[in-house]
Subunit: 149 residues, 2 copies
DNA sequence: ACCGATATTGACGTGAACGTAAAGGTGAGG
DNA sequence: CCTCACCTTTACGTTCACGTCAATATCGGT
């Protein structure tokens, strides 16, 4: 089955579609979501989201023991899933998120981050080439079949 | 089951730079490769290639017990690895290769193949969008870091 | 004949990314 | 108060894609 269209807006999420029925109450601006809200919205299971938390990829707040996801958390999850969609491992994703995170950057760390980012970009370009080639081949194959009808 | 080696050329292999030092000699046109030749050329282990054979993805000839890969087999392996690079599972790859293989196609089978191919193409376009977005973000991130120097 | 390099077939191990119970807490509603 | 629906943790199971021995040929060279 196809993978859903993943909305990403890590940097401040402006919503276009539905507010996804905020679980409940509170301040209008501080919208929160339950784990199943996000699970449904992104087409994954709650287990998956909890697993990501165990891996240190998200850290929602808690009301008692229950998880409360902010819009920032939601955007972060979207980013994670998009990373997954392009083939990143969860370790990759954590590393990238860690790089994004802190305005905190001492010089050597910044240079390391830059190097790693460039490597990844280069790898992604390779991947894109493979992707384009595969698409081209499959489309050609489709045309070939269509011709046989 | 047919005994004949029904080799699928996958559209005549796109050759890399070097012939990769054919294991040995013989007829000029019927060039063959050892498993380690291919392993080195494609940067995988022999184990991986044997595993793919176990999964029914390649069927090289044998000289005694030793595997002999033709250029067709080599191209097929290249296809497999490219499929892997875009995130296909081995089951996906097998299915696609099976679809490619036979000029043998009765009508309903062709239509099924067409449908599946179109689904995949569509998924690949989604994946490409995710890829482009990720590349764009990472490049932006790089520029941001560069600015901080 | 011997040696070292490379080949083979099992068979078991492994890391990643979850799935799947099992057992229990929590709040709203009838 | 009791049920229902949804949340929680703990923990073991599973699939995929190989890795890693181990034991055993085979082949080329000295």
């Amino acid at each position: 089955m196809g993978e859903g269209a993943v909305q990403t807006n890590v940097e401040a999420g402006l919503e276009a579609a539905e507010p996804a029925r905020p679980s409940a109450v509170g301040s209008e601006t501080a919208q929160t979501f339950s784990i199943t809200d996000l699970a449904r919205e992104f087409g994954v299971t709650s287990r998956t989201i909890r697993f990501y938390e165990g891996e240190g990829l998200i850290l929602p707040e808690r009301r008692g023991t229950t998880r409360l996801y902010s819009r920032g958390d939601r955007a972060r999850l979207a980013w994670i899933l998009r990373g997954r969609a392009v083939g990143f491992s969860l370790a990759d994703i954590r590393e990238l998120l860690d790089m994004y995170a802190p305005g905190q950057g001492r010089r050597p760390q910044l240079e390391a981050a830059l190097a790693k980012s460039r490597e990844r970009v280069s790898a992604l370009y390779d991947q894109r080439a493979a992707l384009d080639a595969t698409i081209a081949e499959l489309e050609h194959f489709c045309r070939t079949i269509e011709a046989q009808l």
